[in-house]
Structures are given as structure tokens and as C-alpha cells.
Amino acid sequence: MLEFLDLALAEASKLGAEFADVRTVSDVSTSIVVEDGVASKAVSSVESGLGVRVLVEGCWGYASTTTPTRRAVEEAVRDAFSMAKALSKRGGEKVELSKVITHKASFEVKPRIDPIDVSMEEKVDRCVELEKAARTFDSRVVSTRLGFIDLVRDELVANTFGAEVESRVVYTRANIVVVAFEAGVRQRASERVGKTAGYEVFKNLETDVFSVEAAKRALALLKAGTPPAGRFTAILDQRMTGLFTHEAFGHAAEADAVLAGASILAGMVGKQVASKLVTIVDDPTIEGAFGHIKYDSEGVEAKRKVLVENGVLKGYMHTLETSSRMGVAPNGSGRAQDYRFRPIVRMSNTFIEPGGQTFEEMVEDLRQGVYMKGSTYGHVEPATGNFLYKAEEGYLVEKGEKTKLLRDVSLSGNIFELLGAVDAVGNDFTLGSPGFCGKWGQSVPVDDGGPHIRVREVLVGGAQ
């Protein structure tokens, strides 16, 4: 597909586009599923395609194709052009772009063990070994499922501003779900690992921190109680902190949501949006992290962004378009799932910066509260800032001690209310929720995290 890049750009210019960019993506991937002891499904695939975006009279058109011929590529360019034209004729909103030229650049994740060099047999055996450790841990484990994927992605981005960025990124990810059953109660727990790195991630994974950890948690939840409902002070572990930072805050700090009037953070730059203890960062430059990129899908260098500093909102995440509309510099947050999709504003690795307290200190001076661990589900409305998150497990905190184990603990409220109520930030930072974030039908690899944080008087609830 590479040979069609220049052709597509030339065709777009010839038709009269103000701007055009082209991306080619080639993927080589493996995925394996082990269920209840059998790795009976193995997938090995290659895929490639090309996407072209054109700006005509201020309006966007986008087309993609999997057909690697000169004719198909020219047709895609003409399709994109005529769609933009149709939009422009019908009074679509006019767009301008920040002119940022990366020129020629390249970027490569160099795996210690290239997944392409590892046989399917070896990967399957390793999957089975890790799944077995969870399945055979206790007779009350009734079901286990391990999913493994690796992906080697070669991408080339070029645009009529003169940018040309070549990249190769390697992703490795696995997750395990364990279901335990006893006396009519069924509970599940999960663990995951994911890096922009090679097969070494999976090869060196310890069963104790992955398989056995998930099994132990599912078993413990069988005996857990239901949480109290009402307002409590809550301590959030790193994963809950990360989920909240990504879902409730991060999506609202995406400039396209702000411009669309769909973000509670609109017009808040320079204002206090959180407790002074809170600093929030989106950082794609962390090597190895699942959300690591060096250049975004528009060919712009991906930068570390301090979104909130000591409680004050500093700015948003941007594409070439949103940065131009807001009159700021782009920061490399335009990402697309693959060649089929146009770049939109996305997060990378999003977290709260560590503070000075230990977890023990946070628990010690808490008379009554709830400790929430592990994220299972989150939902937020960026327009209103209202959210609901469910933790995988929780504990009551009574008189400075962690006591009864709880299940189905949920946390809900409004983002400003929660961020403003943070009264302690831990020193125990981790990034540890590698996953795929969905937005507008596209999904991209991201990570999130932070330290333990404590929040005063928030709404805690449960399933029953």
C-alpha cells in the first residue's frame, strides 16, 4: 500500500483539496482464547488498508479501502472529495487546521522478543499454563477464560503539509476472567497485563500476580457482604483512580467534546476544577505503556500534557482541527483505530500524579468509610459530568482499619464534586489498566492509573 501514498496526495491536490492526508496500516496479529482448560481457538491474521481524508471548502470527506490497486485508491480519493463537496454545498461548518509539519520522522517499538518470531505452539502452551494456574487453584473455580493478543502494526502517515511519519508499534496484552461459585453465589474477578512491547511481557508474567491473583479475588468475593448505601468517605485504589481519571475527567478534557458543547470543562481553563492536591496528566511518551505513541495519526508529535495542575485546569487534548479552532498549539492527540477511521481526539496514558501520603495513613485517620478496589465498569456523561463506577471489590473502613469485604460497590456523583473532595493523594503510583477505549465506534489502546486517593463524602451504593 505504501506506493499509493504519493499517488493519493497528488490526486487530492489535483482535484483541488485544501488539505489531504493518507494513512496506510498493515497489521500482523495473533489471538488465542483458553476457556476452561482448552486453548481451542487460535487466530493468526494479516490485514492492510488505506484511508484518505480531504478538506474541501472547509469540509471533511473520508474514505478507506482494502483493495490494493491504483484504481481503488484513486476512487477512494474521489469519493472523499465528493463527500466533502456535498457537505460544503449543504452548509457544513467550515474547518481550518493548525499547520504543523513533522517532516520526515520515524518511530519504532523494539521488542526484546518479536512476537512474529514466536511459534503459535509456544504461545498456546503459555496461555494454557497461565489459565491452568487459576482453574486448578480451588474447586470452587467453575470457569476461567484467558485471552491473549499480540499485534505488530506498521503505519505510514503523510499529508499535503509535507509530513511523513513512519512507525512500527508492537502490542502484547492478556487478560483472565475467573468465575467462582458456591452455595448459590457466583462471583467473577479479572486481571490484565498489556504493554507496547514484545512477547517478553507474556513470557515473564508470574502466575501469582496474574492467574492466582484473579482466582483469589473471585473466591474471596463469594463471602463478601453488600455495601452500605449513602454518603461516605471513600479511598480509591490505583485502578479506580485511573478509571475515574480516564472516564469522568479525561473524556471531558477532549477538545472535540468541549467544542461540541458536550463537556462540563468548557470555558474552565484557568479555573479551579479540583482540590489543590490533584494534578492530572495525559502522557503518551511513557515507553512500554499500553497507550504509548510517539506521533499521532495526524503525524504530529505526541506530547505529555498537564491537564490539571494543583487543581487548576490548564488545557485540553487536541487534533490539528481543534487546536486551530481554539487558537492553541496541537499536542498530538489525534488518533484513529486503523485505516478505516478518521483521527479524533483521544487519550493515551491518563493519570493523577502521586502525592505524599501512604495508604496506611489514609486508612488510619478514617473513622468510617469505604475502600474501593479494581474497576469493572464506568459510565459518564461528559456534558453533565455525572458518573457511575463499579469497583471489583471493596472493604468497609471502621475506626482506622480495613474490615469487612464488600462486593458490587459503586461510586457515583459529579466529577467536580468528586475532584474537589479529594483530601489525600498517595505516593504509591502505578499505571495498570491497559485496555481499549471506545469513542464514536473507534477503539484505541490506552492505559490509566494514579496513586490511592481519598475522597470526602461521596455517594456509595450497591446492587441490592
Binding site: 481451542s40 487460535a42 474514505a63 478507506s64 453465589v185 458543547g261 458536550a262
Partner: protein
């Protein structure tokens, strides 16, 4: 057509093989804030090959349907099957059966839609949605797609079909002073000509405005009236738990409940891949098995789970034709097609009259835990009711229940219903819901 690749798979050592080929084109106009923002098209084709060796499954796909790439796909698939663990539970791919066409699942006008048509429809939806005062911003899309699906396997099965679909959705944010509210709705179908963008835009916007002025509610245990969109989410979750694979692996709260009474008498639910003009309709499922129409819940009794060939063989029953692939990229799974919750005889007005103190819930956006059936959600689109009258919209209220309790506490099903692309959802009145203020 692809016979030689199936034969190649057998020659390389596969016990059985199947090729799934999809060619598709889609067009989408996206709405952002107050106008149509982008128009995009996708043209894609792909072939996936499933091969089995001693029950172990290998899958590989390619987006280039040329001799060389297809041969490589076969090789990768067979070597993946060889690497996979043997699975004694695998009996066979499906045998060929006679296929009866489902009428009206392909519309050539929809398939040949030009880009300006989706742009116009999206623009009309925007204009309609901006009519009511107080609408602050919109998000949404109108998209149309056509696809040709082909399935062939080494047992001689051969099936192919063309289908078209449209999806229109709109998310409206409304604002008055510092108060904001949101509402969301959608329309799906087979013929783009049947989309009414004005009605969808207008109704959704009116609802978003009517939800302004929301107040908190007190903690209570009360009846809840679920509107059709909320019913669709909850019933959808209940049906998702009937996936035979989840049940057989004891990962579903529906495990062991077949034949048992799990819901109130009022609930009758059927599932069908054969509804005329149904969004999810198709003559055969994604491994070539004829689709069926079946009763899932009859007067509260659970009659069947949903099967593909693998899970059906495991239990010695017939596939219900529910094998599903999102695209050629993924492993096949099990999924419901069109659902019909049989409407009852009671009018919504009289259901409301019977509520002394309770809620109307318009949208459910959360996902329940299918292993336990537990579900909790913060409702932001709904109303507080006293003595049969709407008192005010809800700012937010937490609701929580187990889906089995939801089913057994569903007491009344309304006469009125909403149709989403061949699926039918009435209002459901459910007792004893715990509401947290």
C-alpha cells in the same frame, strides 16, 4: 467459488474447513454540535477461514482476496489449528440445509445511496432537533451499509446473501441556566427510505428539554415503569445471558434455569432472525445455518437458550441459528437477532395510575454482570411519580436489582410499544425496585 481453498485446507491436514467472505460498503454522515461535520465511506472486503484439527480451531483472515493471500490464509489457519489444543467437544461444522429466504432484507435503493443523501438526512435531523428552545448541542450520525455475505464449508454447505441496513442516532444536550439534561434515541432498519429523521430529531430533543429541572429523589423501594428504550436494554441483557456458550461454561446467571419459571406470567419474549425488514434478519447465520423463530419466554417459563452449531452439538440439540460474527475479523460468537416482547393489554396511562409513588425510567445505559445477574445504574433520564402523576424529572437516582428479580417482579406489560428495526419493546411495570436518592 472458494472450493479450491477449502480443498487446500483439507490437503494440508484440516479435518474440516469453512470460508466466510464479506464484502461491504458503508456511508456515514456525522453530526457534531449543531451541524453535519464529516462524511465518510468505507469499502472493505475480507475472507476468514476456520479450520479444525482434532477439534482445535484455527482462524485466519485476509483483506486481500487474491490467490496468493488466500493461499497464505489457508496455511496460517491450518497451522493455527494444529497449534490449538484438541477439543473433544467439537463434533462438526454444520451440514448443508435447505435455506428459505427472508423477504425484504436487501433494498437496492439503500445499497446505492449517494453521499449527499445521508448528508441531507442528517441535516434534516439536525434542523428538527434544534427546533425546541433549550437545545444546547447535538451528537449523532446517519449511516447506511450494504454487504454481501458468503459462507462455504467442506461438508458442501454454500450460502450467500445481500443485506442492507441503516442506523440513525442522536444525542441531545439541553440547557436552562446552569441546569443540563440529555436524551438519546435511535432508529434502525433495512430501507433508508423508511427513516424519519425529522420525527427522530424532534422527539429526542423534546424529551431532552422535558428532562430539564430534574430533582433528586428519596431513597425508597418502589414500582418502576421502564420506557421501551430502557426495556430494550434490560431485556437485551437478559437474552445475552441465554448465550449457550456462557451457560455451558457456567458463566451466566441463567445456568440451570431452562424449563423453569423465571418471570411473571405477563412476560412473553420471542427471538427471530426471520422478521421481515428486521435489522438483524438474515436467512442463515454466520456459519450458514438457517435462522429460526423461537419463543424464549412463555408465560414466564424459560423455553430455550440460544445456540450455534458447536454449543448445540455439545448438548445434543439443534443449532438455533444464532452464530454471529461482527465482521470477518473475529471469532464467531452467539448473539440474539430481533427480539419481540409481546405487548400486553394494559394502556400506559392506567399503568401510571396504579403507581402511588415510584419512577419512570427512560434510558438504561449500564451493563449488568451476566455471571451474577446483578445490575446497578444511576438513572439520569426519568421522572418521579406520585399518585399516578409525573411530579418532576429525576436529576439522578440509583437503582439496583438482580435481573432474576427484575423478571419475576415484572407485573404488567403495556399495550403500546416501540419498534426498533423489527424488534418490539413495550413499557414494563416492575415492582419492588430499590431506589437510592
Amino acid at each position: 467459488m472458494f472450493e479450491k481453498y477449502l480443498e487446500l485446507a483439507l490437503r494440508q491436514g484440516a479435518d474440516q474447513a469453512e470460508i466466510y467472505v464479506a464484502r461491504g460498503k458503508s456511508l456515514t454522515a456525522e453530526i457534531e454540535k449543531k451541524s453535519v461535520k464529516t462524511c465518510s465511506s468505507t469499502l472493505e472486503e475480507g475472507a476468514a477461514m476456520r479450520t479444525y484439527i482434532n477439534g482445535g480451531l484455527g482462524l485466519s483472515y485476509t483483506t486481500i482476496l487474491e490467490e496468493k493471500q488466500l493461499r497464505e490464509m489457508v496455511e496460517r489457519s491450518v497451522s493455527a489449528a494444529r497449534a490449538a489444543n484438541p477439543d473433544p467437544e467439537f463434533k462438526s461444522l454444520p451440514e448443508p440445509e435447505e435455506l428459505r429466504k427472508v423477504p425484504d432484507i436487501f433494498d437496492s435503493e439503500t445499497a446505492n445511496t449517494e453521499s449527499w443523501v445521508v448528508v441531507d438526512l442528517a441535516s434534516e435531523m439536525v434542523r428538527a432537533a434544534l427546533q425546541p428552545g433549550g437545545v444546547e448541542s447535538l451528537k449523532g450520525a446517519v449511516s447506511v451499509s450494504s454487504s454481501e455475505i458468503r459462507v462455504e464449508n467442506t461438508l458442501g454447505l454454500e450460502a450467500s446473501e445481500r443485506r442492507t441496513r441503516f442506523v440513525a442516532w442522536i444525542y441531545v444536550s439541553s440547557k436552562r441556566d446552569s441546569d443540563t439534561a440529555t436524551f438519546y434515541d435511535y432508529s434502525i432498519g433495512v430501507k433508508l427510505g423508511e427513516l424519519d429523521p425529522v420525527k427522530l430529531g424532534e422527539k429526542t430533543a423534546e424529551k431532552a428539554v422535558s428532562l430539564l429541572g430534574g430533582k433528586k429523589v428519596e431513597t425508597m423501594t418502589s414500582p418502576v415503569l421502564f420506557e421501551p428504550q430502557a426495556s430494550a436494554s434490560l431485556i437485551g441483557a437478559v437474552i445475552a445471558a441465554l448465550n449457550a456458550d456462557l451457560v455451558q461454561r457456567r458463566r451466566s446467571f441463567m445456568t440451570g434455569l431452562k424449563g423453569r419459571r423465571i418471570a411473571g406470567e405477563a412476560l412473553n419474549i420471542s427471538e427471530s432472525g426471520r422478521v421481515e425488514k428486521g435489522f438483524m434478519s438474515r436467512s442463515f447465520d454466520d456459519e450458514g445455518v438457517p435462522t429460526t423463530e423461537k419463543t424464549v419466554l412463555r408465560r414466564g417459563f424459560l423455553e430455550t437458550y440460544l445456540y450455534d452449531t458447536y454449543t448445540a452439538n455439545k448438548e445434543g440439540v439443534s443449532s438455533t441459528g444464532n452464530c454471529y460474527r461482527g465482521s470477518f475479523r473475529g471469532l464467531p460468537t452467539i448473539s440474539a437477532s430481533n427480539l419481540r416482547v409481546e405487548p400486553g393489554n394494559t394502556k400506559v396511562d392506567s399503568m401510571l395510575e396504579d403507581i402511588d409513588r415510584g419512577l419512570i425510567v427512560s434510558i438504561i445505559s449500564g451493563a449488568p454482570n451476566l455471571a451474577s445477574g446483578d445490575f446497578s445504574e444511576i438513572v439520569r433520564q426519568g421522572f418521579y411519580i406520585e399518585k399516578g402523576e409525573i411530579v418532576h424529572p429525576i436529576k439522578y437516582a440509583g437503582i439496583g436489582f438482580n435481573l432474576l428479580d427484575f423478571l419475576s417482579n415484572t407485573k404488567v406489560v403495556s399495550k403500546e410499544y416501540v419498534e426498533y428495526g423489527g424488534s418490539v419493546y413495550p413499557y414494563l411495570l416492575v415492582d419492588n425496585i430499590r431506589v437510592a436518592g
